[in-house]
């Protein structure tokens, strides 16, 4: 990090006898909803003794780390993604020679913590650089890009840049922060027709918690929200680098009527704030129903009860009655998820058989639960089988898991298997608002049975192209490889059914135009389509793997994931990042993080930030710190003297 003279002055002013951060820079390049983020930090051990310097970054769980590099006094450590077994083996060899340092990755709710610490002599300069990529999912008409900043100290050169390039044009863009109102004006947003630049560059004085403070107030999240222009309902087809991405987000279609059975866990563990927030959310959700919608409520603990045995229209009288029913629920007893879900499915089947509901409507079960089954069928795999057996093709199951006592993986699996999705609700957050927000996402189904097709022999290795439903404000994304062709045009054909109509939509794209455009853009993420295709494919394979019924199938999927992840350099649950010094003698390993332990941290009722797992750093007993060289020795002495892994950090999940 080359500092300007002014920044150098700041640096000297804040330099203490500890660790000084010279620069902390975050840069995101978002192109067509796919982002590549780089977090760079340059630090100095300003103390007179050797110290540990840590680099700690929070990244969204849905992102894949693609690289991590480190430079310690001119010695560069370069990362590469390898199959997990290969990476672990190489790492173990280094460890056996006391030449290994660690990277710790831990999960907390929807974020992952990436942390590494290196022990370096006094005067050492260290630069860290972490890269990760993610696809932004459109929710409630917006794409959200979040950046967690935690420089930890005042920094002479602190800068965040988010560059957005959306070929079809940017409709809206705004940015906010959680650091405090005083920072609102420091986040500058500039945008043109198809580009936006969000920059945050506070001076040292501006970073301070108060005028004479030495602590930084910059710790929190910058959120960028934006949406793109859409010329038509037919979607947007983009071709770049031999890959295509198709975005489909029609609007201006009337929502389909819905048939919803709300299945609410009222076991003892829901007692208190969780139930109160669920009631609050349910009241708002019920108010959203229209006379065209049909609904019922099933509440369960060890027993299963129904507010109404059959589906009823969302009239004001029924809604008022349902609200009264929910308000009077007193949570107690065990959890019989199996029976409750089966009852909900029966209700939908009966309504469908008796033609109570419009055949074009959308039928869904929304399950809200905060714990594992304790009564009746408690084997998760058996519940999964039972539900799948009775569910019909036209029904979907959406699961909401409140708190940490719930097996979220199970809820996700059962939802995915039944054409729905799952969401975690943080009980210590504003759970009512989270429940409502989730409902808003699924409350306006606009299309059913959507299929995206392409001309024969024009594409290959297409990601999921059949979708059960499209919800207003979201977006369906299909990607694939473009096969060589004499034509410069790629055409997609999308079919779907809306309220009473069937639609066929055609979209075409020039296969050369976008690459020419990207080449002109200084801050675009070239290669986005290739990475996005791999990202989507891997995510889908991971989902498929969790539903695979045999070990052979699982193994095959794992192998495919590994091959793709290594080729596209994504750190997935099946690959690891091995960070090596130039001569490959010293190594670090970024392995898979673990989910918070099931039941470890059940949500309390308080509000505030989500709990983050505490990282305990314990040097192994064989670590032998060496005497610190003087400043002069470090800066001028031969590089060989500054060996990194004099002390080795813990890899907690290796």
């Amino acid at each position: 990090a080359i500092l300007t003279s002014e920044e150098q002055q700041d640096f000297e002013a804040i330099r203490g006898d500890d660790i000084t951060v010279r620069s902390y820079k975050v840069e995101s390049r978002i192109t067509s909803r796919f982002s590549h983020t780089i977090v760079r930090s340059s630090m100095v051990n300003s103390g007179s003794t050797p110290q540990s310097i840590a680099f700690n970054v929070q990244i969204p769980k849905r992102a894949f780390i693609t690289n991590f590099t480190m430079n310690v006094n001119g010695i560069t450590f370069v990362g590469s993604v390898k199959e997990k077994a290969v990476a672990r083996n190489l790492y173990a060899q280094a460890r056996a020679r006391n030449k290994a340092a660690g990277i710790i990755r831990t999960n907390s709710q929807d974020m992952e913590t990436f942390k590494t610490e290196v022990h370096v002599p006094s005067g050492s300069n260290i630069e860290f650089e972490l890269h990760y990529q993610e696809m932004m999912h459109r929710k409630l008409n917006l794409y959200e890009h979040t950046l967690h900043l935690q420089p930890g100290r005042l920094v002479p050169q602190l800068q965040v840049d988010v560059y957005i390039f959306e070929p079809q044009g940017i409709a809206t863009v705004k940015a906010s922060n959680t650091f405090g109102a005083q920072f609102a004006d420091l986040i500058k947003v500039t945008s043109t027709k198809d580009k936006a630049h969000i920059v945050f560059k506070p001076t040292v004085q501006q970073q301070k918690q108060c005028e004479n403070c030495t602590e930084s107030a910059v710790e929190g999240v910058i959120t960028v929200l934006y949406d793109v222009n859409r010329d038509s309902n037919a979607g947007e087809l983009q071709v770049s680098d031999g890959h295509f991405v198709y975005f489909f987000a029609p609007s201006n279609l009337s929502p389909l009527p819905k048939n919803i059975v709300f299945v609410i866990d009222v076991s003892g563990s829901m007692w208190g704030v969780k139930m109160k927030q669920t009631v609050q959310a349910m009241k708002a959700i019920l108010d959203d129903l229209t006379i065209d919608d049909y609904f019922s409520i099933v509440d369960f603990n060890h027993n299963v009860r129904c507010w109404s045995e059959g589906l009823v229209p969302g009239s004001s009288i029924q809604i008022a009655d349902a609200k009264r029913y929910i308000e009077n629920i007193k949570p107690n007893g065990g959890t019989n998820i199996n029976e409750a879900l089966l009852r909900a499915v029966q209700m939908l089947v009966r309504a469908s058989n008796h033609r109570v509901i419009d055949p074009r409507s959308v039928s869904m079960i929304i399950l809200v639960s905060d714990g594992d089954p304790t009564v009746g069928e408690i084997k998760l795999s058996a519940i999964q089988k039972n539900v799948k057996r009775v569910m019909r093709e036209e029904f979907s199951l959406f699961s909401l898991g409140i708190g940490f006592d719930v097996d979220y993986d199970f809820l996700e699996r059962i939802a995915m298997e039944n054409r729905g999705m799952a969401q975690r609700i943080y009980a210590n957050h504003d759970a009512a608002e989270q429940l409502r927000a989730f409902y808003s996402q699924v409350s306006s189904p606009l299309l059913r049975k959507i299929t995206v097709q392409f001309q024969a022999d024009s594409v290959a290795e297409v990601t999921q192209n059949h979708f059960d439903k499209f919800f207003s404000g979201s977006e369906l994304v299909v990607a694939g490889k473009v096969l060589p062709s004499e034509s410069n045009t790629l055409t997609s054909l999308t079919t779907g059914s809306a309220a009473r109509l069937d639609i066929i939509l055609e979209t075409d794209a020039d296969t050369t135009e976008l690459d020419a455009e990207l080449a002109k853009q200084q801050h675009s993420f070239t290669g986005f389509a290739r990475q996005m295709w791999a990202y989507l494919t891997i995510k889908q394979l991971i989902s498929e793997r969790s539903l695979a019924t045999t070990a052979v199938k699982k193994r095959k999927i794992t192998q495919r994931i590994m091959t793709l992840a290594v080729e596209h350099q994504f750190v997935t649950p099946f690959t690891a990042l091995l960070v090596e010094s130039g001569d490959a003698t010293e190594r670090l390993l970024a392995d898979s993080p673990k989910d918070p332990k099931h039941g470890c941290c059940s949500g309390g009722g308080s509000s505030g930030p989500p709990p983050v797992e505490v990282l305990v750093y314990q040097p192994p007993p064989w670590v032998m710190p060496t005497p610190a060289p003087s400043m002069g020795e470090v800066l001028e002495g031969p590089k060989e003297e500054i060996t990194l892994p004099e002390r080795v950090n813990l890899v907690d999940n290796d």
């Binding site: 010329d231 038509s232 309902n233 037919a234 979607g235 201006n252 279609l253 009337s254 065209d292 809306a498 309220a499 009473r500 109509l501 069937d502 639609i503 066929i504 939509l505 055609e506 979209t507």
Partner: protein, 241 residues
């Protein structure tokens, strides 16, 4: 807007202009027997006292309660509470009950009702910064459409081909344009030979259709006065006295 009426039995094309005011809605086809009505709303050019064009076309099919509104911005289909909009930006086909809407990207839309009535609306885009011209629509209604005997409207009335006698063809005031006398619907009219454009095949230049031009907004050729075809909204049926 210009009207071109093809008379197959006489093997002749007749043209006329209707110069009403921007905002007025003209009934083009009204068939209370089949429940189909087609209306066009006029827009003016950017300069006043210039031409008028069709800016919006409304097609309403009463039995299903479906209306299709085609404007220079997009196509909207409404059935009671449901409202679905599509832009000109993509090729699309939409089917609901007996209605089929086929949109060809930035070009035209064909609305077919029960496979018996078809209406084609052509989009004419002009240079956005043009000092006078605005985007407008053209409408084409095939002679093969099947109507009930109750059909009427500025175009609908010609589904039953009127008897036309043309004679006394002579040079006119403009030597390039011949004149003649036409006897139609009991009226004797002085008509002028001219041409209009059919833009279905070539949207930029169009192809010439030679026709006999009726002056005074089709007076004498159409039933009554053109002002009798002005209706209150885009889904109105025509009530002729």
């Amino acid at each position: 807007p210009h009207f071109i009426i093809h008379l197959p039995r006489s093997n002749m094309d007749i043209c006329f202009n209707i110069d009403s005011k921007p905002g007025h809605i003209l009934n083009l086809l009204s068939d209370s027997g089949t429940g189909v009505t087609v209306n066009g709303q006029l827009i003016g050019s950017k300069k006043v006292n210039k031409r008028t064009y069709f800016g919006t076309i409304g097609i309403y099919y009463q039995p299903d309660g479906i209306s299709v509104i085609v404007s220079t911005d997009g196509i909207t289909m409404t059935d009671g509470r449901n409202n679905h909009s599509f832009t000109w930006g993509s090729t699309a086909e939409i089917r609901q009950d007996g209605i089929r809407i086929s949109i060809v990207k930035n070009s035209n839309v064909i609305i077919t009702i029960n496979n018996s009535t078809q209406v084609m609306v052509l989009l004419h885009r002009v240079w956005k910064k043009h000092p006078v011209n605005v985007d407008f629509l053209g409408i084409y209604i095939p002679n093969e459409n099947q109507y009930s005997p109750l059909v009427h409207g500025l175009i609908g009335q010609f589904s039953i081909e009127p008897e036309v006698i043309l004679y006394d063809i002579h040079k006119g005031a403009d030597p390039l344009k011949k004149e003649a006398t036409m006897e139609v619907k009991g009226n004797k009219l002085l008509v002028t030979r001219g041409w209009q454009k059919d833009y279905r095949r070539d949207k930029k230049r169009g192809s010439n259709v030679y026709c006999w031009f009726i002056h005074n907004s089709g007076k004498g050729f159409i039933d009554g006065h053109y002002s009798q075809y002005i209706v209150p909204n885009l889904s109105s049926f025509l009530h002729m006295p």
